[in-house]
């Protein structure tokens, strides 16, 4: 893998293939060493002696995540141009992300074009489960890595090539900590919390619940059998993120799923309308410029 923003140098596999073209380990520092600039080129006195050197301060003021955010901006621009509604699904392992995704796809695949990027440390089990529903899915294996980053997703998009006006799910590595910091270019992070977990998870892992704009509380069919306090979970989550939208669903029984599907369809429609508005305004602009050019030619 390209070492730009990943934490598993050389171990990332996309669709089972190593990401070789960006495997810069071994040469990544050569570029710096190759820049030979004489430190006294400013004409100052050549006063250095072994063991003595002059230091200076250099102002930088750059966000540590700026590289990742640059790749995320590229992904986001691509989604906007294509009218793709992209969601980054984040949760602990075992919250039921893939089961919910399969149910969602079964319900929507007749009405929407759907594609899935699956992130896991190892195996392509999840991508295979998704492909069994009949939609394209690409597995990213992060190796020892604990999250997807925008660069990996950019490569995955080249291979997966989601259709215009489609719905793209990016299922992140099951981890409530690390994926919070990494923007992938998605429209929303959707956090999934299942009722078999503790209702205090939003307090224990606040970064993720702050980064998400939607919270799906899954496995609600199990509420009678567990001590999970639904109201408290929502209250805790909104302490961290007052604007958080909460939907309660059961991927097994289908309870609450209609509301989730409606939210997805509204998001896709808004994204497609935004694309059409952009295309329409560009067409108007081109027509204006052409009219002006032909006006000039006649004059």
């Amino acid at each position: 893998m390209c070492t730009t923003c990943g934490c598993a140098v050389g171990e990332t596999r996309i669709g089972g293939e190593d990401v070789r073209e960006h495997s810069r380990s071994g040469m990544r520092y050569a570029a710096v060493k190759a820049v030979h600039v004489h430190p006294h080129a400013d004409g100052g006195a050549h006063a250095h002696a072994p063991g003595m050197s002059q230091s200076r301060m250099v102002q930088i003021e750059r966000d540590i995540l700026s590289k990742n955010d640059g790749y995320a901006a590229q992904n986001r621009a691509r989604f906007e141009e294509q009218g793709v509604f992209a969601l980054n699904l984040v949760s602990s392992p075992g919250s039921g992300k893939t089961t919910l995704l399969c149910r969602t796809i079964e319900a929507l695949k007749g009405r929407l074009s759907i594609a899935v990027v699956e992130g896991d440390q190892q195996t392509s089990n999840d991508a295979e489960r998704i492909r069994a529903t009949g939609v394209p899915a690409l597995q990213i294996n992060t190796g020892k890595g604990c999250h997807l980053d925008a660069h990996m997703v950019g490569h995955a998009l080249q291979q997966l090539a989601p259709a215009d006006d489609s719905l793209l799910f990016i299922e992140n590595v099951g981890n409530l900590v690390c994926p919070a910091a990494f923007d992938l270019g998605e429209a929303h992070k959707v956090a999934i919390l299942s009722v078999t977990e503790g209702e205090d998870k939003p307090l224990k892992y606040p970064d993720m619940f702050r980064a998400a704009s939607v919270l799906l509380i899954n496995k609600t069919d199990l509420l009678p059998y567990v001590s999970f306090k639904l109201d408290l979970a929502v209250e805790y989550a909104r302490r961290i993120n007052p604007a958080l939208q909460v939907l309660c669903v059961s991927a097994t029984t289908g309870e609450g799923v209609a509301e989730w599907l409606a939210w997805l369809e509204a998001g896709c429609a808004a994204r497609q309308a935004q694309k059409r508005a952009t295309v329409a305004s560009l067409k108007r602009r081109v027509a204006e410029l052409e009219a002006r050019l032909s006006g000039n030619a006649q004059a």
């Binding site: 923003c5 710096v32 540590i64 990742n68 604990c146 900590v177 939003p202 702050r210 302490r239």
Partner: protein
Amino acid sequence: MHELSLAEGVLQIVEDAAREQKFLRVRTVVLEIGRLSSVESEAMRFCFDAVACGTLAEGATLEVIEAPGEGLCFSCGKTVPLAALYDPCPACGGYPVQATGGTGMRVRELEVE
């Protein structure tokens, strides 16, 4: 351990700066890490030492300046200091408090030679 990715990010910013500003070694890296950001300073130090090995920043000191957390209380409407995302408003004791400051992390400056 996303701090390892973040430490790689710091090193890349340092390397980019070395190309632009023509320096050959880095003695000190000054980071500003927000109290409410998703990074742990000690883990960052550990990871930075590991990724800096064999580079122009090998052996460099990592100085971390903590930026204080700040939030807007939805109950009393005041901007208040905030130590953790889940804390109540220190002024009125209410919830929620939306984090508004101290959520970022950046490289501020470098001491180079």
